[in-house]
């Protein structure tokens, strides 16, 4: 918004009131075409989706209709009723809401507009919330959860009666999650309160803008068929390309601002040897440091928090000039993150190492270089991250990609090409989740008694739920009422009850209280506060400063004395007490780097395709560094390189075992699943597999039996081994018991309200919830496998487990295209994954084996039998 330097033609500037024109002129700016375009469409009553790169003045564009409307509003006369909220602004991040309040406050004050703007987040004190209900601000900036709370209130229709616009920021990021589903239902409710409500969506570039356009406007069947009443809500009826003309899909208007200058992306052409495997990029530290020195402010992105910790550590080791280099990731203590953000804003940092916490559009400082360490994993992600640089859409962004290993060189190359041709690989939207709908139905009853027919109609206007059938909806209502069990034993404990007038009402005020305490779809991973104690004092000492939070699951794998990197320091694990993890300084020691659940992305399908194509086509190798193209050439001599659509399987003996390496390039999660399924089959076939390891690019399985010979002699045809039917029974059997499904169920149970996150008057720790959710899952699965919550769990798992779908696509693609190469020894292409063998501990379902090991260890030590 601070960037309006370039004048553009503005025939429509007539619609801007005088004070606005003056304000623009006072800065030597002119309103941009898309800002005026959006204003004109909004004034014509349309809902609009604005897709623009960062630095395009997107936020101001989104608020311009509001500001102009409010500027033209007649003054409130004494005695006239107070006016309600005029515009709602929804953002995925609390920090973003606060940031926008600050940024928007400036022009509002400078233009001299009589407009109040306030935020309302989980941090807003109770007295302020109360006041906001009585004296609403003109513009309220809030989050999807707060909106859910606001509409689940009996005075909501009155509170929102003057609402004119809803501005949805970072829409591309909101819509892909359950938060987006909750928000879509909230939007549907707001439209019922205010039929003419106009939605303005702000988004980064996405692969299918029409999905977002539909998301912004009501999707009810009647408007789809006849276009009728939806017109008043600013809906443009556009026949979609492949639908018959009578099936019209309501969509918001679209304004798309093309990216400015093409970014200048290079891949670090290191003088050093690029390693075969690993993710540290340690080899490139001196070159990265050199680039930081040559630029004013560098933003360094990595994919995981542990990589961030490692890179930060290494940079400081190299930091002979004592440059101010900071670290920022989601696990760090809030106060520390705020300090870093503050320093960013005032341009007092030379470099900042960050994970995805900085992906979203917070405006900070003058970044003139983005370095991406490790492969970007997706073309859209790379584009957004590079967009952080410069923030001036007319100047080219500067970016350097630093591959951490040889396969990543290929992937970075693919990403650069994708970026130049503007390819997008944002994930497609999914259908609305049922657990979210359960929560919304309960919230609806908390707000006011509802008729099932009306609520069903309303829910179907939300794009994610447009295809919801009545039967499923009724099951959801049944779940909310009595748990939805086949065994009807909870009628007397119903949370909502059907009353004589045909409406559903909550049965007790306590239900409303429980709903408010548990609203939202964000399930926090159980995490412990990391706190300093003095070295050696261990559990006795108390109370140093808190450094942040770490996932319990990671801490549980530590024993006292273990060291790990966190918050830019090497820490010694002292122990856990209640909800805190005690650590002390462990200077100069080698750390066992934490690996986190958060922040790992699999290679996108799109990039995987480009990488496969690149491997298959020697003409493209000249774009690669010599050491990498030499490696590929060697591979084609010693073994083969697969054709674009083929799957290469290599087998070779090594160290008394037999190895099979497959190269599907479908991302580590998919390979992990594939490895699990293949070992089951190999075991049945008598190959005696011992274990496997997966990377983003390949899968290696080792066994006692000679798999190469079994394949070669046709004892175990590869086509059979890789047959798609492995996704049937084998997958079901494995999935049913897997921790993954249990965790998914836990989330569904918490979101749907089966289990409470918090109960009035008591705090539940994550672990207590976890235990009972697992037990409930086991019981429910054996008694009522078709229960709606298990249905929701499976749907989630199938969506979340993109890898299973990818696996399915891959298996059908390679049908009849499996190329087996039996080798006497390891091939060049197999080296990276073979280096991972041994790093992997044991495979997935081996908990009992671990117990036996522990038991044996003691027996051995004590000399008992």
């Amino acid at each position: 918004m601070n960037d309006q330097s370039r004048p553009e033609p503005s025939e429509q500037s007539a619609i801007l009131p005088e004070p606005f024109l003056k304000w623009f002129a006072g800065r030597g700016w002119q309103p941009r075409a898309h800002q005026l375009d959006l204003l004109a469409r909004a004034q014509a009553g349309k809902s609009v989706l604005l897709i623009a790169p960062t630095g395009a003045g997107k936020t101001l564009a989104g608020f311009l209709p509001t500001l102009v409307d409010l500027a033209n509003r007649p003054k409130r006369r004494p005695g006239q009723a107070r006016r309600g909220v005029h515009t709602l602004y929804i953002s995925p991040l609390k920090a973003l809401a606060v940031d926008i309040e600050r940024n928007l406050g400036k022009p509002v004050a400078e233009i001299g507009l009589p407009i109040t703007l306030e935020t309302r987040t989980g941090d807003t004190p109770a007295h302020k919330r109360q006041r906001q209900k009585l004296v609403p601000p003109d513009i309220l900036m809030t989050t999807p959860e707060q909106l859910a709370l606001l509409i689940a209130s009996s005075d909501a229709p009155r509170f929102f009666e003057d609402l004119r616009y809803i501005v949805l920021d970072e829409l591309h990021s909101l819509v892909t999650s359950k938060r987006g589903h909750l928000l879509s239902l909230g939007l549907a409710r707001l439209r019922r309160f205010v039929p003419g409500l106009q939605a303005i969506g702000l988004s980064a570039t996405v692969s299918d803008p029409d999905e977002l356009r539909r998301w912004l406007v009501p999707q009810d069947l009647s408007s789809r068929l006849w276009g009728g009443s939806a017109q008043s809500a600013g809906v443009e009826i556009t026949p979609s390309a492949d639908a018959p003309p009578e099936r019209k899909t309501p969509m918001a208007d679209l304004i798309e601002v093309a990216g400015g200058a093409k970014p200048e992306i290079s891949i670090l052409d290191s003088q050093e040897r690029v390693p075969w495997a690993g993710h540290s990029a340690r080899y490139a530290i001196p070159e990265i440091y050199g680039a930081i020195r040559r630029h004013t402010t560098t933003l360094l992105f990595v994919n995981t928090r542990s990589q961030a910790e490692f890179l930060f550590q290494e940079l400081w080791r190299a930091n002979d000039d004592n440059l101010p280099i900071a670290l920022h990731h989601g696990s760090l203590d809030v106060s520390q993150r705020r300090r870093v953000e503050k320093a960013m804003e005032t341009n007092s940092l030379r470099a900042i190492v960050a994970t995805s916490t900085l992906d979203l559009g917070i405006d900070w400082g003058d970044v003139d270089l983005v370095i991406h360490v490790g492969a970007p994993k997706g073309a859209s992600r790379l584009a957004q991250r590079i967009g952080r640089s410069n923030h001036r859409m007319d100047e080219p962004s500067q970016a350097i990609l630093v591959p951490a290993n040889r396969f990543e060189v290929l992937e970075c190359r693919a990403a650069v090409e994708a970026n130049y041709i503007g390819a997008q690989d944002t994930p497609p939207l999914v259908e609305g989740a049922l657990d979210v709908l359960c929560q919304h139905v309960l919230g609806s009853a908390v707000g006011a008694p509802f008729h099932a027919d009306d609520l069903f109609k309303e829910v179907r206007t939300a794009a994610p739920y447009a295809a919801l059938d009545r039967h499923t909806f009724d099951r959801v209502v049944d779940f909310v009422a009595t748990g939805g069990y086949a065994l009807k034993s909870y009628e007397r404990y119903a949370r909502i009850k059907l009353t004589k007038d045909g409406t559903w009402r909550i049965s007790h005020p306590r239900v409303a209280q429980q709903y408010r305490l548990n609203v939202g779809t964000i399930i926090e991973v159980p995490a412990l506060t990391v706190r300093y104690v003095r070295e050696g004092r261990g559990m006795v000492a108390r109370g140093g400063p808190a450094l942040g939070k770490i996932e319990e699951a990671f801490l549980e794998t530590l024993v006292p004395g273990d060291t790990f990197l966190f918050s830019g320091k090497v820490l010694r694990f002292e122990g856990i007490r209640e909800n805190e993890c005690f650590v002390s300084n462990a200077p100069g020691k080698d750390a066992k780097v934490p690996y986190y659940g958060g922040g790992k992305f699999p290679l996108s399908t799109y990039l995987a395709e480009v990488v496969r194509a690149m491997l298959a086509d020697p003409r493209r190798w000249k774009q690669l560094p010599d050491q990498v193209s030499d490696w590929l050439r060697l591979q084609s001599e010693k073994s083969i390189l697969p054709k674009r659509e083929d799957l290469l399987i290599e087998t070779f003996p090594r160290g008394g075992r037999h190895y099979m390496v497959a190269y599907p390039f479908e991302g580590r999660p998919a390979h992990q699943t594939l490895g699990m399924l293949l070992t089951r089959r190999l075991e049945r076939a008598g190959a005696r597999p011992l274990g496997f390891v997966a990377t983003d690019y390949a899968l290696a399985i080792w066994s006692l039996g000679d798999m190469g010979r079994m394949f070669g002699r046709g004892e175990l045809p590869l086509g059979q081994l890789f047959d798609e039917d492995m996704l049937g029974d084998d997958l079901d059997a494995w999935l049913a018991d897997s921790w993954m499904l249990k965790r998914t169920f836990r989330n569904c149970a918490l979101i749907s309200g089966l289990i409470e996150k918090r109960h009035p008057g008591q705090e539940k720790s994550g672990r207590q919830v976890n235990v009972s959710a697992d037990l409930i899952y086991d019981v429910l699965r054996s008694h009522e496998p078709d229960h709606i919550l298990l249905q929701a769990t499976r749907a989630d798992a199938a969506m979340g487990l993109l890898d299973v779908r990818r696996l399915g696509d891959m298996l059908s693609r390679i049908h009849g295209r499996i190329v087996h190469k039996g080798l006497e020894q390891i091939s060049p292409l197999a080296v990276p994954i073979m280096l991972e063998v041994g790093k992997e501990s044991v495979q997935g379902d081996a908990d009992d084996t671990l117990l036996l090991e522990a038991e044996d260890m003691i027996k051995d030590a004590m000399g008992t039998q």
Partner: protein, 237 residues
């Protein structure tokens, strides 16, 4: 897969001697004393689901059915003359009264022909309404004494429940947590048997002073066998 994995899957229970009495720590979470023809089960927490439902958390109403079918399996296996339910047999005082008729009949069928003792627990201090069996505060059989809550001081031959013990080990960077029998050879605390019962790590303060740590073992319940893990291997949390 490996012989270790195969061994880990072979069914096995653990026989230990408490106060001179031979007892089997059964992998399904019950104790059987062959010389006394006695089966002991602890913390059934029947009707926990409906107890929660009364407070607005509509957990699946199948916990009683699940717990009873697990119980039926072990009773069928040992066909014991005597059964002790070691307290917290019902999740709350009205649990027995809420017990659906079908489960009441199933329970009575399990009890038929046996001497059945309900030890009073903190959740169910009164005799279960309308069910046969003797309700006792504690009971002594052979060299063993059975009560719901373990006594604060070490008691030779005490069998108790109440604490819902579990244990955790970390092996190869992975954490494994399981319900367990907790014993130092002098007394034993039994795992909770109920389908919805959570568990508490044996290293928690609640166990303080109960065991002689030198000879302590957690008999952790695997999917098909018991693993005897010494105290030194255990992790809190």
């Amino acid at each position: 897969m490996s012989s270790l994995a195969q061994r880990a899957r072979q069914p096995r229970d653990e026989i230990i001697v408490i106060a001179g009495e031979r007892v089997v720590c059964d992998r399904r979470g019950v104790l059987f004393a062959p010389d006394l023809d006695l089966l002991v089960v602890s913390d059934l927490h029947l009707e926990k689901g409906s107890s929660y439902a009364r407070r607005g958390a509509l957990l699946p109403p199948y916990d009683t059915a699940t717990t009873l079918s697990h119980l039926a399996a072990v009773i069928e296996h040992y066909n014991p003359r005597n059964v002790i339910s070691l307290g917290d047999s019902f999740h709350d005082g009205e649990g027995a009264a809420r017990l659906p008729e079908i489960f009441r009949r199933r329970l009575e069928a399990l009890m038929a022909g046996r001497d059945w003792f309900w030890v009073a627990g903190n959740h169910d201090p009164q005799a279960p309404a309308g069910l046969p069996g003797d309700t006792v505060a504690e009971i002594h059989v052979g060299g063993l004494s059975f009560r719901h809550e373990p006594s604060a001081m070490p008691v030779e031959g005490e069998v108790a429940g109440h604490l819902h013990p579990c244990a955790r080990i970390v092996q190869r960077g992975r954490s494994v947590r399981r319900r367990c029998f907790a014993s130092d050879g002098s007394r034993i605390v039994m795992p909770a048997f109920g389908a919805y019962t959570g568990s508490l790590n044996v290293l928690d303060r609640a166990y303080h002073g109960l065991f002689n740590w030198e000879s302590f073992r957690a008999y952790m319940m695997g999917s098909s066998r018991i693993f005897a893990i010494s105290g030194a291997m255990l992790m809190p949390g």
